[in-house]
Amino acid sequence: MSLVFDAVLCLVLLAGALGVVTTGAARPAVIAFIGYGLLLGLAWVRLAAVDVALTEIAIGSGISGVVLLRCVRALPAEPLTPAPNRMLKPLAAVVSITIAAALAAVVLALPEPAPSRAADVAAALPATDLGNPVTGVLLVFRALDTLLEKVVLLLSLVGVWALSRDPACRGRPAPLSPEPAPAPSAFLARVLAPIGVLVGLYLLWAGADHPGGAFQSGAVLAAMGLLLVMGDQIRTPAAESRGLRLLLLAGPFGFLAVGFAGWATAGVFLGYPPGAEKAVIIAVEVAITVSIAVTLGLIVLGPPAGEERP
């Protein structure tokens, strides 16, 4: 029975992927992409990778989907002149198919059973006081990857802000809609945002022992912030605010500081002080969650519009 479900899910996933690339217009393609991300999340759940499923749905489908929808709205409705090179689409298809085929070949070429460090992680996990091996890998065993990931996220916001007309990136991002928020949006923001913030904080706290963690929690908190902006409950933050910029930097630089302190306390970069691992790990998780939430929200809101004239 579950085999039938998985087979149907695979077919629907393939159909969804084809739907995304064959839909002619940009907006339907983005909406199809969001739906495809949800299906992909379901596939990750079937593979018992709930952490990945949560991240895929919250970031790959949710936040990225909103960013893409805003891009579509910013595009001119008329087709571009001169038209882009006609070879571009076939070329992109060939490159994508080559990458997919190469990845498939590599996966199929793996020896049986596939090499795995899962047993090492399971053996070393008790030392970290964490119950969720994914969090253990992200924050302890492969902490360097996570640190660099946070820097990449920050760089992507720098990329968005680089589109600002103001070279110093001052002012607030342009409002999402020129009209005041419709009453149902305001109602939804007032009622759902407190519950959503609670869910986000729970995901952060649960991440130590259950699926969840900084990225999922940050995405939910960012979504709640955006909901409040869309419902006209809070204003978009001013980009020159020192507090805002500190929140952006708290995660990557806090993590980096812990990393350097590792030399003093544990004798190795990104080592945690022996005996206080869990407390430091939680502090790092909180800092990167705050930064992820603020960064993701600001990426969706777009570049600051320049200093306000009184």
């Binding site: 419709p182 009453a183 149902p184 109602f187 009622v191 759902l192």
Partner: protein, 108 residues
């Protein structure tokens, strides 16, 4: 006792699936955006309610059941509010296109 509970679950979940199928059909086949939203939110509301109701006897404890009911309530909140927002956007759009169109003959 468990036989009755299982039968209850089967009947209610099947009914919920029927509502979702009808809602999906409506979403695909109905001609206007407003009626499509109507079909979709009905499926969300009644379909999900029936499925949650059907699954309640299978819950291991009260907390699990409460979580399922909470999921239904949150889905209600989101789908209801989003349907209103979308409907308002549709109304504004149709009004804008009507205003932009040249006035018909016979109108002042």
């Amino acid at each position: 006792m468990s036989l009755i509970a299982d039968a209850f679950t089967l009947v209610f979940v099947a009914a919920g699936i029927a509502f979702f199928a009808a809602g999906t059909l409506g979403l695909v086949r109905l001609p206007q955006t407003l009626s499509r939203i109507h079909a979709l939110t009905k499926a969300d509301n009644v379909g999900l309610a029936l499925i949650v109701l059907g699954l309640l006897p299978q819950a291991a404890n009260v907390l699990e059941g409460a979580k399922m009911v909470a999921v239904w309530l949150l889905a209600q909140l989101a789908s209801g509010a989003v349907a209103q927002v979308m409907a308002e956007a549709v109304m504004a759009e149709t009004k804008a296109t009507k205003d932009a169109a040249p006035p018909e003959e016979g109108h002042p």
